[in-house]
Every structure is written in C-alpha cells, then in structure tokens.
Amino acid sequence: MSKLKGQVQEQGFGRRSLGGEPLVYHCNFYNYWLQKTVLLVDDLGMEEIIQDAAAASAFACLKGLSGQDSAQAEALFAYLGFGQIDLSEVTAAGGHATTSVSHYGQCLSSAAGVPFAKPQSRFDAGFAAGAGAWAHGRLASGFGASIQACMSVGAEQGKVGLKGRVQPDFMQTYGMGPASTDARPPNTWAAVDQAAVDQAVQALHLVGNEEGLIPRFGVMLTQHFAHFYNRLSFEFLRRMSHTGMRMAGEHLLIDAGYRCAFHTFGGIFNSAEWEALMGSKVASREAGAHSMASIVSALGWGRWRLVEISDRRAVLRLYDDYESLGYQAMYGAASRPVAFLAAGGLGGLMNLLYLGDVLDKPVLDNDYFERVFEHPDAFAVHQTKSIAMGDAYSEIVADR
C-alpha cells in the first residue's frame, strides 16, 4: 500500500482538514445508523446523494493534495480508515474498482446486529467514482458508479463499476467553510487542559492500519469527510420538508448521534488511553463529562464546552461545530438549529454517566444499551442556539 502524500492540518477550535476538506472522526455505529435513516424513504433519491457526496468529497480532497494518480487515491482510502481499494482497472473511459477490505462493506454489520438486505457500500462506489475521475482528468461528476458486488451481502470482495458520464450540474464541497464568529470558548473545569488533550489525541495516530481500518475503543473509526455527513443529513431533511415527516427525520438523526456517542464515548471511557490521560483526575460524573467534552473537541467536531452540568441538567456550547458550519456553507442561514449529531451526542454522554454509571466500566453490550435507553428518567435534549441561525455558538440543553 502506498503512503499518502499530504497530511492533516490542525485548524484551531479542534477543526482538522486534509487537502482543504474538513475531517471528522466517526464510528461504524454512526455510519450505519445515519445511512439507514436517510435511506428509509424510498423515493427521496438518497442513494444518489450518498454516492455523489462521496465522489465530490474524494475528488475535492485529492485535488487539494499533491499527485494526480490512482496510488494517491488508494492511499487516501486506507489512511482515512475506509479499507483497501484497487483502482488499477479504471481508465479515463471507465472500468471497475475492487475493495478487498471495506469499512462500509464489512464493519457496519456489528452495528446493525442483523443481516443486510441491500449492499451498504454506496460510499465506496462514490469514492471510486470521484477518485477515478480525479486520477484520469475528468470532472468530479465524470463517472457514474454502480455496486456490482458488496461484502455486506456476502461477496468475497467489493466491486464497483464505473462508466463515463456528462453531468454538468454536480454538487460542490465547501472546503473549510466560513469561520463562525469571534466568540471564544469559555474556560471550564478541565482535568487536563485542551492543548494537552489535543496533543494526546494526535499522538494516538488514529489512521488506517495495514488493512486500512481504524479499530479503536471497541468500535471501527473512520476519519471522514464532514461534507459527506452534512450533505446526507441536510439533503435528507430538505427533501423531507414537504412530507410532514421532517420532525421525525430530525429525531432519527439525533438518534444516530446518540448511538454514536453511546458506543464511541462508552469505548473511550473504558479504554486504557482514558485511564492514562484522565483516569486518576476524574473523580465524579461531572468531571467525566467535562473531560469527555475536551476529548470530543479533538475529533474535528468543534469545541465542546459544558457551561452547566448536574445530575438533572447540562448545557453544552459548541464552537465551530461542523454541522452548523456545513449547513451555513451549503444552504445559508438556517431557520432551525441543525446540530443533530451533537444533540444526540450530549444525550448519549449524559445517559452514559448518570444512568449507565459508565465510569464503573460496565460491559458495553446490547443489554446495557437497552437498559439505559429504556430508563424512565432518561435525559431529553433540546437545541437552543445555533451558529447556523446567526448565534455566536450553538447550544444544546439536556435535562430530565
């Protein structure tokens, strides 16, 4: 496997970019539940959005990096934790790409817990299209992609067919988007200061291993394109806006964030890395919440600051959260808050700490998840401010 030429840039406020594209860490649980949610309604055309968002993101990232060749694209796929892709059979006219290892093809099953009825590797198909287009001098929209085989439904390897196409109107990424405001995150209690947490997370070197995967904290991580997530979430809601089901869609996006937090935060709380960095300094649930907020702030999601925290209520302020910035860049000012992932994340964090006693290191299995989720006194979350609506920061309240 070739080595990626280029490196992630730290952009301040915890934001990270590669080739000018913002990156965020997310796990197989979020990747599964987000995709499942946006594909629930059959006639929204979201399969095409998933593939096009992947193609646009991959193309833009590669364009921002040096080198116009397939090896660089293959290295990018592995570096970000998506697996191993072979683009050697792609020419300027088309061809096919294969995946011998695939996050989407192989790692979503542990999040789903049940067999798949349909291929899950739409991201791989889009990536192959965007990367192939970049490597062979076509426009970002230059290839249409079709999934010919997918490991999620039993194939030995993934296969994506590519055909040249002409599609003048194609989605654009927004790069790092607008800076939010001059607002600075307040100093809140910290077991370890943010700069040290940022450094510790960077030192973990959370990039694809020899298989192109990132198994860490009991989940499979990806360093993913913020544009991809935002395009899926917001285009899904936009297309739902006249169906009378938009609110239901918002609830399900928050649920995807909840499941992400539950498994990833839960895994971090249980990890040796947590013990090494935070363990002895975290003597209460409140300290655990502040400390997790500082770790989250190093994942590319923006800065998380808990300005109020008790066993009944928490107030989270978000500075440069990737959802609000992405919405603004793609659609302009929002009429409603849009930090769905973060809202679910806060709910998951509070329930883990105050209902699930996660600091006692429980086994994070399905029984535990259901017991906490079904608790009659679980936290509910409400978004109260949003950068996307012109506020200086986004704000989410969790209470019960």
Partner: protein, 56 residues
Amino acid sequence: MATLNQIFPGNLGRLKLLRVVLKLGMPELKGHNPNQPLDPMLERRIRQALREVELG
C-alpha cells in the same frame, strides 16, 4: 387487534415507530391514539414495514 403501544413498546419502540412512519410515508401515524386498536389492514402494513426496518 393490537395497539401502537403493543407493537412499539418503550423508548426503543417509539424510535422504531418513527422509522415505520418514514417507511410507510404516513406522518398521520404519529397522531394516532397509541392505545386504540388498529384497523387490521393497517396493522398488517405496519408489521410488514416493521419487519423491513428491522432488517439491516
């Protein structure tokens, strides 16, 4: 004849109901009395949609 509360118990059930609402394209289900027995035809559609959303 079952009720929505019987088919979708608890917090996880409420989320499954939302998925079924989207799958069927029936926002009016959210306003349905959760303790009222469902019309058998509707119940069959709901159970079929539930099987689909419970697949990966």
